[in-house]
């Protein structure tokens, strides 16, 4: 079964010269191949698409001619990829037809396999694919397939057309779709994808195959995954992870960690979920980054996508108001950052120019009312830049405060912070985290605007104090892992 695993022509899966859709319906119901046809059309997939349904042979759908059988499909350009959306029971016959035709890959959308106890059907599928020399290689069944913004293959309505450097391997098509909309959304895109695959039941091509491919894929700089279960030996996965994290960060969200979650995994993708403790130890061994939920995954990807490695996990907090300082301190320390006492020299220098009323110069630094003065903030950053104990300088402020700063021109104000960020000594980082954000239309818009300006100025910015602390910790930890590995090797 592992035969040929290293020479799978994945390039053709992600950039097929033509696509066949088996199981097209003229009534366009969800759950049929027409769903995929519509997306490919909307996405302007440039190569031929061949809808197949013997019942509708010769008719047209969305301007495409419907074929009556796989054998009657054109050979030039060759069919590299087929999307199979027929009842589970007839999928083995379809796979045999595709193999005979020489089709390289099939994505089986249909469900009704091991996730409902029909492991026999999965075995029949594999048997079919071996009849013609292990062709086609199978993605799924019970999954959404492939998204590649560059080649315009997609399973996501309204997904971004822009290619990026994040590869995402997901055992949930729904989550893959949501993440693929999250990254490129908003005024300033947070990240774009190189390739996305929804794995499903992984009866043939599995997590390890795709991880090995993305490890070498030049376009992919970050690998993220949502994983419910492993289909192969964990040791192979760990070896591969160790090699991969040397080249690029790997971010993993493990689904099915509670007892009931594990049985939900069995009914979802038909596999054993495994214990979260094993995943934690695997993460420690391999340098892979384990995250806890969807937003955590999205924000961690965004951080690795946008921000450089941080030298140490020691942070100085600047706030206007003591309560927010306490809150930021608790949040940093809870998530692995160290709120480091400032040097005596820093404390003295801060005391020289900041009034002593309603302020505090230990760490967290509470600037009180002066926390709304740009010169005071800039001077504080300058002083902290000379403090040898600090790597991360964290500005805690509300989105509204940027407006208070800048009655006239918010961009000019953020640019000043940007200049301060650029003038920092090597190894120091300026980050901006908001005070808790009210879900109000105007505040949300203001926050997006501030976020875009900050990102443009290469200031690390986060959705919350918590995501800021978590992401900085992870970036530092990954850098630290690489450093240790270099020393060891």
């Amino acid at each position: 079964m592992t035969d040929g695993r290293r020479n799978i022509p994945f390039k053709r899966l992600f950039n097929p010269r033509s696509i066949a859709i088996i199981g097209i319906s003229l009534s366009r119901t969800r759950g049929s191949g027409s769903y995929f046809l519509n997306i490919l059309k909307q996405n302007k997939y440039p190569n031929p698409i061949y809808p197949v349904n013997p019942k509708h042979e010769g008719k047209e759908i969305e301007g495409y001619k419907i074929y009556g059988s796989v054998s009657s499909l054109p050979d030039d350009p060759p069919v590299d990829f087929a999307i199979v959306a027929v009842p589970a029971g007839i999928t083995p016959r379809v796979i045999e037809d595709l193999g005979k035709k020489g089709v390289l890959f099939a994505h089986i959308f249909s469900s009704g396999f091991s996730e409902i106890g029909r492991k026999d059907l999965e075995e029949a599928l594999l048997e079919s694919s071996w009849k013609y020399g292990h062709k086609p290689r199978i993605v799924g069944p019970n999954c959404m397939g492939i998204y590649n913004p560059r080649s315009k293959v997609s399973f996501i309505f309204g997904a971004s057309q822009n290619s990026g450097s994040v590869a995402f391997i997901s055992q949930s098509g729904g989550l893959a779709g949501t993440l693929s909309r999250y990254g490129p959304s908003g005024a300033h895109p947070k990240f774009n994808f190189s390739k996305v695959v929804s794995l499903g039941n992984q009866i043939d091509l599995d997590l390890i195959d795709f991880l090995r491919y993305f490890k070498e894929d030049a376009e992919t700089k970050i690998i993220a995954m949502y994983i419910e279960n492993l289909k192969r030996n964990g040791n192979e996965f760990i070896r591969l992870l160790k090699e991969t994290t040397q080249k690029k960060p790997v971010i993993i969200w493990k689904g099915g960690i509670s007892e009931r979650g594990k049985s939900a995994v069995m009914s979802h993708t038909g596999g054993l979920a495994g214990d979260i403790k094993l995943w934690r130890s695997m993460s420690a061994q391999t340098g892979a980054i384990l995250v806890n939920d969807f937003m955590d995954l999205a924000e961690t990807i965004q951080s690795f996508y946008s921000y450089p490695i941080i030298k140490t996990n020691k942070v100085a907090i600047i706030s206007a108001g003591g309560g927010f300082g306490v809150m930021a301190t608790d949040t940093c320390e809870k998530n692995g950052l160290i709120v480091q006492p400032l040097s005596d020299s820093s404390v003295d220098k801060l005391g020289e120019f900041i009034p002593g009323v309603n302020t505090n110069f230990s760490n967290p630094i509470d600037l009180g009312g002066a926390g709304f003065s740009i010169p005071v903030i800039l001077k504080t950053v300058e002083i902290l830049n000379k403090d040898p104990g600090i790597s991360i300088i964290q500005l805690v402020s509300s989105p509204e405060s940027y407006k208070i700063h800048s009655q006239t021109d918010m961009e000019a104000v953020v640019n000043k912070f940007g200049d301060a960020a650029k003038s920092l000594t090597d190894g120091k980082t300026l980050i901006a985290t908001p005070t808790p954000v009210i879900e109000d239309k105007n505040i949300v818009l203001l926050r997006q605007e501030v976020g875009s300006l900050l990102r443009k100025n290469k200031i690390m910015t986060f959705n919350s104090m918590e995501s800021g602390a978590k992401c900085c910790y992870r970036i530092w930890k990954y850098g630290n892992y690489l450093k240790k590995m270099k020393i060891r090797n």
Copy 2:
């Protein structure tokens, strides 16, 4: 010191017949009494306001005459409340003047006391207040004071004018301000306040005094607090908490739980933070609800404000897509809810009308593509309503799906869910939680619209699966605590 603690005329603090502001500045800088004058004016405080500053005697500010001394203030109506914003060193003299005048309460805004090691100044303040029979009673120092939407006393720019039933006791003025904007914000207000107090250093009136008052306050149905430290014996607090939770829920966010957070508390409000373990055990003993951060506080208040007690913590999850089902299951189980296996009869009935492709009828229930059909969802809710093992029926869906449901009229669709919620058997609750939400302008607006419609229809709705699980667990747990207490007494 405990003398007279039970007979403090708090009514006059929250509804003063006139207010004196000591330390007014004509240049209107932040940190002076002018800040408060502007807010009171903007808020249309209807009773007299007397600015005091000997340097500007006889001049006018914002249409108000400036007095030269406390002794020269009018006696009718009497000055019930003074806001003191003068340098810390002269506050004891001001308190003495106020006591002589018979002023009942003083809020000392000024900082520069025990939080920077000047405990001597706090002792001098108390001494001054005892010169005229413990008058005025002191709120603070080093705090923002009082907000009462009904009487229009306020320290928050743009705060809601609408009175509600949440009392908030806060050791951070900034957090109090943010929460006071959060509750009433958005298309549909989430909650409004009865009274808010920012405590500061608590040298005289403290947490326990205000808790005792809010316990009896007819307008207050929920008490929330952000606490950094206790100034009195913990046993007194625990006794009072036990009495209070019998009458109304008490929600507590403890600030300063990390080691560095504790020292930040010392510099912020000048007290010992205490160990979080003690607070956890206190919560278990008293039925008080301990929360972990700002959003957790805000969402828990909102839940107790809007939703009835839940009978059991057993939940059935309905999703369209297995990954979201796994995610919801992990989230519920992590936060104290039980994802209960359905009865055989429920599973059979679900299987009768939902197609078996891409679906699952265990719990979580994955409706697959049928999860976008309103009749299917309504029928599923009807079946779960007859399942004796379930109390909470949780709909997991994206804000966008409500739009997919309702090409024509979203309100009509949500009303149908509302009808389903109303027809539930006693003790069953319908809740709606979103799939992870993308921060995109249109999605945020859509989400607010959906949220308003759901709330109008008395469907419990939450910002995330996590807050849904946490809040349902807490509402159930509080009800359960009350039940146990009744049995015991």
